[in-house]
């Protein structure tokens, strides 16, 4: 570094001494390196003016045509109160009255409302949610007790098939008489659940609802026992 102290000029970049830098002693490798650094800097971007390919134009035309069709089909007449795109024009044309399969309806109502606690196999959960499979409560000759339970709910300790359960069931009085009758029929007659009790009709549910429909408190085991006596399986 003796050259540094003698020189009054500032050193060139990179800490290479002036003497070395100007002395034509530069090796090829560093020179190439600097070159390659400079060479990679390209011009500011510009643009060519290739025309738009015809196939792209065709694609746009097809898309716009499709968009027109889609809007014509599914714009719902710009009606803010139409939520079903398959509905055409004013609704309300009544279908012919349909035969209702109470078992299929009951199975669906069960899956909509009961599975979360009693499980899809109807076996419940020990100590918490009583089973419906082969259960004495389900198989009683008269369905009035379980209709009451479904309508107003049930809370507190009970015995099902001799096993204790203690929890709370919510009220399902929002379901129609037909739906409650269907789901109870499904539960009481499902062969894979080893249940074989008489079907429940909407009229039976309506009768219980007429008598106790105003009740908002859930039933308790002893209360039901006071009305119907102990649970007796058929």
């Amino acid at each position: 570094m003796s050259e540094d102290s003698q020189s009054t000029q500032p050193n060139p970049p990179n800490g290479v001494s002036r003497d070395t830098f100007e002395g034509n002693r530069m090796e090829d490798v560093p020179l190439q390196q600097i070159h390659s650094q400079l060479l990679r800097e390209k011009e500011e971007p510009t643009e060519n003016f290739s025309p738009m390919p015809l196939t792209l134009m065709a694609m746009c035309a097809v898309l716009i045509f499709w968009a027109g069709l889609y809007l014509a089909w599914y714009s719902g007449d710009l009606d803010p109160f139409r939520f079903d795109e398959t509905q055409r024009g004013a609704s309300g044309i009544a279908d012919a009255p349909r035969e209702i399969d109470m078992l299929a309806l009951g199975r669906r109502v069960y899956n909509q409302n009961c599975v979360a606690c009693h499980q899809s196999d109807g076996r419940g959960q020990s100590g918490v949610f009583p089973p419906l499979v082969a259960a004495d409560w389900v198989q009683e000759e008269s369905p009035d007790r379980i209709i009451k339970v479904v309508l107003a709910g049930l809370a507190g300790p009970i015995l099902v098939n001799g096993n204790p359960y203690n929890n709370a069931m919510t009220a399902f009085n929002r379901l129609s008489d037909r739906d409650i009758a269907a789901v109870l029929t499904f539960i009481r007659t499902e062969p894979t659940w080893q249940n074989n009790a008489p079907a429940v009709t909407p009229e039976m549910v309506a009768a219980v609802r007429a008598e106790f429909g105003g009740r908002t408190e859930p039933w308790t085991g002893p209360e039901l026992e006071a009305i119907h006596g102990p649970v007796t399986s058929r």
Binding site: K42, M52, S75, L78, R107
Partner: protein, 263 residues
């Protein structure tokens, strides 16, 4: 959204690094204005099936499908600019990330247009498919392009080169493989989840209980955890490289060659 941001970066950096003009000015213009026209309407496709009038959803679906125009136009423009220079793209860290992002932009946008169709959305909505789609967009395309931009900017701002090609390699492979694994796993898992969620038997009873549909996604979510690990490795490599670059002595790196990746 992140599109306009990313368009700017890709439209500048691809021609700048390759030293070759953008393929077509006309295509850029068509891409810009069709994007501006349709993109604002497209967001409604997140409400398909929701509490919204039919016509709003139809408008959103149409706009989402019309997004095919800017996407294809931009893809053609970028592809035609790059075509024939694949070796340069592979060697430059900047372009390797940016072109990966550009390819994924095309893929994620076309998938997004498909997902906006009511019949497809019925399956994918509310599932991990949508989550995978979001990561496909924001990571595989946007984040990767931003990584590429950082690889371009830092040497020019600091006047020194990237210290380690090995770390760039690690970053690239960990992130590219990681995000692809995540996207594929969530798309497949989400599609299965959607099909099982909607499956009904002849009585109109769900075939799978809800908990079954959720438990069946767990293996795919494990794959997602592995992909997250890969991404973390990539991010650590990137962080180390940046840290090294900023805090190393200038002389140690200043007169080295630009850091390029092996062909």
């Amino acid at each position: 959204m992140v599109d306009p941001h990313r368009f700017g970066a890709a439209y500048y950096l691809i021609p700048k690094v390759l030293g070759r003009p953008i393929h077509s000015y006309y295509l850029s213009v068509v891409g810009f204005w069709s994007l501006a026209l349709f993109y604002n309407w497209a967001g409604v496709h997140h409400l398909i099936g929701g509490p919204v009038p039919v016509w709003v959803i139809s408008a959103g679906t149409v706009a989402s499908v019309m997004m095919v125009i800017p996407v294809v136009v931009t893809a053609v423009n970028h592809h035609m600019t790059v075509v024939g220079m694949q070796r340069e793209v592979w060697r430059s860290p900047t372009l390797r990330f940016i072109v990966f992002g550009a390819i994924n932009y095309t893929a994620v946008s076309l998938l997004g247009s498909t997902m906006a169709l009511r019949s497809v959305n019925e399956v994918t909505h509310f599932t991990h498919f949508t989550v995978g789609h979001a990561h496909h967009g924001v990571y595989a395309f946007f984040t990767m392009i931003m990584f590429g931009s950082v690889y371009y900017m830092m040497p020019r701002l600091l006047k020194r080169e990237w210290p380690s090609a090995f770390l760039i390699h690690t970053h690239w492979w960990a992130c590219a493989l990681g995000i692809m694994l995540m996207v594929v796993a969530l798309h497949i898992g989400g599609w299965i989840q959607g099909l099982q969620m909607n499956a009904l038997d002849e009585d109109g009873v769900p075939v799978f209980t809800f908990i079954e549909t959720v438990r069946n996604t767990v293996p795919w979510l494990h794959a997602r955890s592995i992909s997250g690990l890969l991404l973390m490795i990539g991010h650590m490599a990137f962080f180390l490289n940046v840290f090294w670059m900023i805090f190393s002595k200038p002389a140690a790196v200043s007169d080295s060659k630009p850091t390029l990746l092996g062909a």
